[in-house]
């Protein structure tokens, strides 16, 4: 999960549950706690301790993938680079994360209408057309599953609603349409954003900054790393149990390999003694047993790995129906390497134990009991 944080050290958002703020603004899983003033956020962003502060605003989705209004600095958090097209410059232009583009089969130049809310729905669809101008390279981070656009796009889409409502109630906005763009700009000062993602120049900021904001403003600042650690403490018991079960299964399979190799050595004791009488050395016999063990285990590992891959794919597809973001990431290369190494040690141990009878083998006794 921490991998997903990118370079985000702190999140500033509306008061509420800090965990919710992190889940919503960093992992894009939960609903936001509320909005904060863009003006105030900008004031905070001016602090000398802050390396970069990126506003984000959201509330729409397309087919379940969240549309995030932000600035171009957002990409830097994830070291995301373009695969195709260009970055969004004007309002109503969007850039797709790699997974979004792949799953929805969208390409540069395509257009779509966003719908209101976090979950896919067909009822509350906005009228503004969004145009895809770029697609990102896969990062294996949360950004793969996001649709990124300029802050203005989100405001524009939503303001339109408000303006239409205003027109019905109020009379004074006669030349509203012609002045639309300037009004937008004046309005900028009163704009709301969902949260501000912050990275510090040095870790000292982590200690003092959140307290200052929580005390002196009506916003809250929270540290994603800390909140996610807390979360994994809550869910930790489950994860620990599962990993213990996994290790237990690994141990049992290691023992199974040991037993089958040992049985093979015992059952074929006569054959092995026969080979010894042919002039085979102990080492040659040990190599035979070792190769057998390694071949069996390698095949098992490959099959197991494929099953896990397929199984996870199925589970992900199953769970993905509503939210398009998920906490679980695909099995990484590091995990596979780790598991592979463990299996390898297990096999080595099994082989060492299984070849013991070969080393102790008394050819004469075995050959004289051929019946």
């Amino acid at each position: 999960m921490e991998h997903n944080l990118g370079a985000i050290d702190m999140v500033i958002g509306a008061k509420g549950s800090p965990l919710q703020l992190v889940l919503a603004s960093v992992l894009h899983l939960d609903n936001p706690t509320g909005n904060i003033s863009y003006n105030e956020a900008k004031k905070i962003a001016k602090s000398r301790m802050i390396k970069s502060a990126v506003p984000i605003s959201y509330g729409d989705n397309y087919k379940g993938f969240r549309i995030v209004g932000t600035t171009n600095k957002f990409y830097n958090f994830y070291h995301a680079t373009l695969n195709k097209g260009k970055k969004n410059k004007k309002p109503m232009e969007v850039v797709l994360g790699a997974t979004v583009a792949k799953q929805l089969k969208l390409n540069v130049g395509d257009t779509f209408f966003s719908s209101h809310g976090m979950v896919e729905n067909d009822i509350d669809i906005h009228n503004e057309k969004l145009t895809i101008v770029g697609i990102l390279k896969p990062t294996k981070k949360v950004i793969d599953r996001l649709i990124i656009t300029h802050l203005e796009s989100i405001w524009e889409v939503h303001n339109h609603h408000e303006h239409q409502d205003n027109n019905e109630d109020e009379v004074h906005s006669t030349n509203h349409n012609t002045e639309n763009y300037t009004i937008e700009h004046e309005d900028h000062e009163e704009k709301q954003i969902t949260s501000l993602l912050v990275s510090f120049k040095n870790p000292r900021g982590l200690l003092t900054f959140p307290r200052k904001i929580n005390k002196s403003t009506n916003m809250q600042a929270t540290l994603p790393k800390y909140e996610l650690e807390r979360l994994s403490e809550y869910t930790g018991i489950g994860f620990t149990t599962i990993s213990w079960i996994a290790y237990l299964i690994l141990l049992i399979s290691g023992m199974t390999i040991l037993i089958s190799l040992y049985k093979m050595v015992k059952e074929r004791a006569f054959d092995l003694a026969l080979l010894r009488s042919y002039g085979a050395s102990n080492l040659q016999l040990i190599k035979m047993v070792a190769y057998e063990g390694i071949i069996i285990a390698t095949i098992a590992f490959v099959i197991g790995f494929l099953l896990v891959k397929i199984g996870l794919r199925i589970v992900f597809n199953f769970m993905n129906s509503g939210y398009k973001q998920h906490i679980l990431q695909e099995v990484s290369f590091y995990n596979i390497l780790n598991a592979g190494l463990l299996v390898f040690v297990m096999i080595l141990l099994s082989i060492t134990l299984a070849i013991y009878p070969i080393i102790k083998m008394n050819i004469s006794t075995i050959l004289s009991h051929e019946k």
């Binding site: 026969l274 009488s277 042919y278 002039g279 051929e370």
Partner: protein, 209 residues
């Protein structure tokens, strides 16, 4: 040339000591060793192949004292120069007939000559079975394969442990004739150890334990 000198063997200290009469075979000479069960026939055979180390005495093949060899060189020497024929099990179950013969040559570090192997199989009436699994062979065929395995690498000595005891009269005759013939072809000394009286007429040299 096989010679033994005052061979005795004890499985464990303070247990019964087997002592064996001396054997002295010149080139191309064969011998039949007859004895009842439990008298130490297999022990003698294993002493001759140096699968067991004698408690006292020594075994000499072509003037080489086997006792003087280290374990590793002994393994190699045994693989190269001694052929063993067993009573029932002869070959590695998971390999085919021809692969068993090839493995035999490979492990004794001899050149694998497929033509020679096929000629040998033909002489023993096994050529049609060369790609068969061991389990698919009959008892008589298996015993013939056992002979093939004991001579394929041109050993100096062929040692046969009860090669006929599980065979009927007809197969007994076939197997003994083939064994003698193959030993002669490879210039090996043949030593047969058995309790089977049917084998007696095939030998001029007999030692009774």
């Amino acid at each position: 040339m096989v010679q033994t000198n005052k061979l005795t063997f004890q499985y464990k200290k303070d247990e019964h000591t087997f002592s064996f009469p001396d054997i002295n075979l010149k080139e191309n000479e064969n011998v039949l060793i007859l004895g009842k069960s439990g008298i130490g026939k297999t022990t003698l055979l294993h002493l001759l192949a140096e699968l067991l180390k004698p408690t006292t005495g020594k075994v000499t093949i072509n003037n080489l004292d086997l006792d003087s060899l280290s374990n590793n060189t002994l393994d190699i020497y045994r693989g190269k120069h001694i052929g063993l024929v067993f009573q029932k099990k002869h070959a590695v179950q998971s390999l085919s007939v021809i692969d068993n013969l090839k493995a035999r040559l490979m492990f004794s570090k001899r050149k694998i000559d497929t033509v020679a192997i096929e000629r040998l199989l033909e002489q023993l009436g096994l050529l049609d079975y060369k790609n068969k699994r061991i389990l698919a062979l009959s008892e008589g065929q298996l015993q013939r394969l056992g002979i093939a395995l004991s001579v394929v690498h041109c050993p100096k000595v062929v040692l046969a442990d009860e090669p006929t005891s599980s065979l009927d009269d007809e197969n007994c005759t076939v197997v003994m004739e083939l064994l003698l013939e193959q030993a002669k072809q490879t210039n090996a000394n043949l030593i047969v150890i058995t309790h089977d009286q049917r084998v007696k007429p095939f030998f001029t040299n007999t030692i009774t334990l």
